[in-house]
Symmetry: D2
Subunit: 426 residues, 4 copies
């Protein structure tokens, strides 16, 4: 593990400075694969709701690395014997690279094309890439080890737990960073205190009991961020349009439609045969460029959707009760009769379908639990001890929403049956 002659730093608004001390980390950051993360936004389409949220997965990945570095540094200073110091570089690399496979507008594109960013992370780390070359210089089996930590099946569970747990560097960085860039103040957590309270213990990272209140505060912040930012209905609206664009473009491509603009690697995406090199060409600049070009496509569905997304003419939404959902077929029929296209002009959405994880203390998988360690070295799951965690963890929030093109529906609303039109008049 080569130490740099002089520590390198990145100025970071969230952590003030990101400190790089090893040449492997420095060189990984300078690979084209890692630099590509500058062109993938951390929060996908959230910038259409919170205009400040333009921050990239590059920034976030540096932040996750930095928090991991601080945790390990604390472990080393405290001299905890349960921390295997030989795994330091492995943990740092896994932290830095854990999001390497994210595609443009990740959640939406994965849903539309049944892709998996974790699989792509693995392929990039193990494939013919600059990242792989640098990792291989550490040891021939080092790329596989890094991939294994990210895949959560590495042989040494504490390394996995450090990188992925309900209180990991990933979650701490995104809470702080997303709060900073959106401007909301829900995500302010006392990270210094939490880091000081962590310790390695029997193959896991646990929290000293005196850190319980800081963890409570972290879980409440997370709760608020999910509902105020991540599941914001305006963001959901833009994600729905995004998915519809992908769906429509693939339909057209499959039908042999002649696109006015088509560029590599989009055909590979539509045909589900992307190579690693193709995948690395995919970024949000390309997606936005394609969409802007497609605003003038002949296909009316595609061009309208692209106009909506690029010029931010999003769908409207109404909150509906489950009783309304029973009417969904009736609504679709009515839309069709009124000349609308129910396949694109109506979407049902329920936020908890999303691939986000609100913390659930009852989760059986112990890797998903937060454990407190008391002075007598007893471990207890946090909701056993904390009233507030027990209280909020029982909450199942989330409402059904219908999304639809506002003016189109307004134009035909008088021709809809009362039971249907009533829903859209609220």
């Amino acid at each position: 593990m080569h130490t740099l002659n002089e520590e390198k730093v990145f100025k970071d608004p969230v952590h003030n400075y990101i400190h790089v001390q090893h040449s492997t980390i420095w060189r990984l950051i300078n690979t084209r694969e890692f630099q590509r993360l500058r062109r993938i936004r951390q929060l996908g389409t959230s910038y259409l709701t919170f205009h400040g949220a333009e921050h990239s997965r590059f920034s976030h990945s540096l932040g996750v690395y930095e928090i991991t570095r601080r945790i390990i540094s604390q472990f080393e200073r405290s001299g905890y014997s349960d921390w295997p110091s030989s795994e330091k570089l492995l943990a740092l690399c896994a932290a830095l690279l854990h999001d390497l496979g994210h595609g443009p507008f990740s959640h939406s594109i994965e849903e539309a094309f049944h892709m998996d960013h974790e699989e792509w992370t693995r392929r990039i780390i193990l494939g013919d890439t600059e990242v792989n070359e640098i990792l291989t210089e550490v040891a021939v089996d080092f790329p596989a080890k890094v991939a294994s930590v990210i895949a959560k099946d590495y042989v040494n569970p504490i390394v996995v737990n450090l990188v992925s747990s309900p209180l990991d560097a990933d979650r701490m960085d995104y809470l702080l960073r997303d709060a900073y860039y959106t401007g909301v103040n829900y995500g302010t957590i006392d990270i210094d205190r939490i880091l000081r309270m962590l310790r390695p213990y029997q193959g896991r990272v646990v929290v000293k009991e005196s850190g319980m209140h800081a963890v409570e505060d972290y879980l409440m912040s997370r709760y608020q961020m999910y509902w105020q930012v991540y599941f914001h209905p305006v963001t959901r609206s833009s994600e729905i349009i995004l998915r519809q664009i992908f769906r429509r473009a693939k339909e057209l491509y499959t039908e042999g439609y002649d696109f006015g603009f088509m560029v590599k690697p989009l055909p590979g995406l539509f045909e589900d045969r992307l190579t690693v090199q193709d995948y690395l060409q995919l970024d949000e600049a390309l997606i936005q460029t394609a969409f802007l070009q497609w605003t003038t496509e002949k296909d009316a569905v595609l061009s309208e959707l692209c106009c909506r997304f690029m010029h931010r003419k999003l769908y409207k939404y109404v909150e509906v009760e489950s009783v309304d959902l029973e009417m969904i077929d009736e609504i679709r029929r009515a839309f069709k009769q009124a000349g609308l296209n129910p396949e694109y002009d109506l979407e049902i959405d329920f936020p908890t379908d999303l691939p986000y994880d609100v913390f659930r203390p009852g989760d059986e998988a112990s890797q998903k639990q937060i454990l407190l360690l008391d002075r007598e070295e007893r471990l207890r799951e946090i909701s056993e001890v904390s009233d507030i965690v027990r209280s909020i963890s029982g909450i199942h929030r989330g409402k059904y929403h219908l999304y639809y093109p506002g003016s189109k529906v307004k134009d035909v609303i008088s021709s809809l049956p009362d039971a249907v039109s009533h829903i859209f008049k609220r």
Copy 2:
């Protein structure tokens, strides 16, 4: 002037909330031309130096609008007779739209193609655009008025002065916003105090004398921001590469080179015949997409430059004395003999050539002065009163730098004459 039924707000990390009270402002924000500013970064290539600086001109424009709104609101509350209240909407629209014509990586593209964003702002406001349509609804001559305020030749000088002066909403927003997103703390100014100290007076916006210290602090912040952020040599390096790419692509286009990737409106850009509709297609997503595609072009110069920019393999730089500059022809010759291409492999840079304005109190144009108004209603230019402003305004900083491809020069350095190689060995 139609008031909205309910005030609309945007959550903003810098001003906390942006308040929109008039439907004209609301509708302008929702035009496709204004939404396009989301795809133009406020700080151009600075994100390659400060990874957090991904914020857009959309955010900045909202911020300038908000500060202007607060200034006018203070003028109204204070009941200053020198403020023409009938000009409020005009001032707000001009503040909101003043950057509408910025292209992708504005300073570099303007330099490369001799474009002028102010001229494009005018063309968009007066052309066949959604913005023009909304402004025309206010009054037939309203678009022309807005353009005239931005062009600084509007008949009522206080409106011009409010929107463009050394202490205007534009500069206050960018200092605060750029400091926030880069994470540096040089740009923290007491904007509440400055706003409270402004008053309209005889066709100008002046500062009450008791606000002098807050203005001193603002000017010192600005001074630091210029040298720490705006003129950062790493940012300069990326701008040089950007300009070289534009230069090379235009050369090739002019020669009839067959690009592997070429898309509208790039031909118009190279042929200097862009329409307003073309121009609105130009954004940073398109530029980045073209550059990424061009990383595999046959032309070695273009593909190498695009790799450098997209994968952030920037030029190295050395600071040089004026005596070294006298050797520039010798260096060029030596580079050529060593097989390098002096047209692309060597650039001289001097920051104050840039289109940024460090405040110079001696400036004759009174519109560029900051005037203090004392209790006896005497006006004095700030550097007459403030020691610190007088001191810093005399400073002519800025060093010459040579930029060059590091490894290429290193490969041939032993073959260069000593006098030349010596410079690049520092």
Copy 3:
């Protein structure tokens, strides 16, 4: 209502500036009675736990005034007809003066001497004071009106509700201010949003439904502040010692003990016959001076307690279960037998006995409820609508603690019965 020629401002770390526009407010701030609040800490003995918490009730009172001013200003701008604009100055004066009667280390001294700061506020406002003189200049019955608003029996309920409610300016200022000065980050609330969401409605201040999440966040912040700051066991320890000093000094005074240091108005305090002028002499400087002088008193109990308080040698504490409490008489007997003084060497404490109010939504008194107003102008109590509020409001936290002099108990611990010594060995 005389408007000042020029708005006056106070620089404030929490609100940035406090704005004073009326000469009555300005003159009230400059009275000796209001200036006395500089010598009463906002958080009593909390500075012994959080060293930054030296802020005064003077600062807090200005903050409460400022928030009230902003709320009313928003009401005026929005043109709400339910706000009686003629009551503005009354509301501002009541907000500014609501804490005027606080004594030194308020909660402890009130408990020790059965005093009531609200009653003293009334007496100061209605007595022969500078404050009374200035209020009387507004109108002869104005002092009585101000007192009545603070006593919550003023005829116009919305003025009362504005000044005292679960979401009033008092609570918002102390959350923000106490978080700022202690340095904890639990108290960060989005006050701008909350203020914007308030509206006067049928004699109450209610919250627009779209402000629900900001209110949730405020209630969670408050919850955390109570448990992390206000009920901190170290602070409780210092309060217990403080009360014991007052108790002992009164005992001694009553017995005719000859104090080495005794100064007006302490005799009046011990004899329960303080005049307003006496009361205004009472401040924390006097209490601290008396205590420091008393560290060398002959009476060993008094001098030890004063040493403990002034040199911060606080009591230790153990958390006990209710089962332990049943043993309290046994513990007292054992302490006595071991030569300790159970009257002073043992105290039971349960935080919710404190005069703080954690929000309880089920509270019958409607003035203690937070009401949400939806678009159909229906009012609903917040816990009906918010899952999170309902969840946290059911929590009855708080543990019993025993406080005791650590080294004294340690010295005799071997002579205590096992069942007793076991408790103090934890």
Copy 4:
């Protein structure tokens, strides 16, 4: 050097946490002498100008300790051979205790009674105190060493330089802390970067050249803080009254006046024969208590001055030119003729007479210089390299002000000669 079993922390608004790792430091903090610093404000009377500035020398001393700890920790991590690691505890103790001898309202009381807080620090460290006892446990000569570092004559110059230099922990903490508690934003410096740029070099702490801009920013912040906060004319007004009270009380005491309130150790103060134990009784609570009691003294001069101070009825001030100062005897005569008391009713003030040190790069004493170390290991004084430091260091700011009781002078102004009254009419 005994390491604590578990690191102790103090929550601090400025540094987030203060970390204590050695039992000696922990025990020093818990001495009565160090706890006394809680009752000495860091900024003296500034709280009468900035109401938030109630922070104590206790907080500041912890902050200085913490910054010193971080600097040494960086030295150790970097493995600099010029740092003598055996001096760590000495440096930490000196940093913690450097302000131990400050009296109440330090600058004013020192001026009034010709005292010297550094001398008192020495006496407390070497005297019969808890601090001395703890230091002696480290080594018999350890108290003398600590005193010597604080007195700047310790044999190992780098320890002295670390604790006292133009860029020391003391100055960095007070800039940040005073900015935080007053609420001004002039004092925001990038302390992380400065700390990272420091290194021990040939018996001094120097700055790596790449830290120059951070140091420039620090010096500009300091410049602004001096003029905006430390020399604020309202603060000067309260300090003048404070000194007058001390002067008057001593005059009366010397004349054998019978004070209504007099308490130990005030007689010792007036007779200039304070013991260490007396001195430790002196705190701001005592001074404020005496002053409040003296507001009802028979002596009209004393009681008026005490009313002014305690009820904040401060002197007014006018800025005067040097030409006005030539008239000072004439003004005094005129005041006397008009029945005023020129000894108390008129004071001339010039801020740079104060014991603060604005950085002067030309200072011969090399210990007062900031040295930059470049890559070739050349040392240069910062003003040789930095244009901005050279510019601001030449500024000699500061105006003469006359302070006087506003209403008293107003009452007689018509009877003053025109040349005199003219000055007070501005």
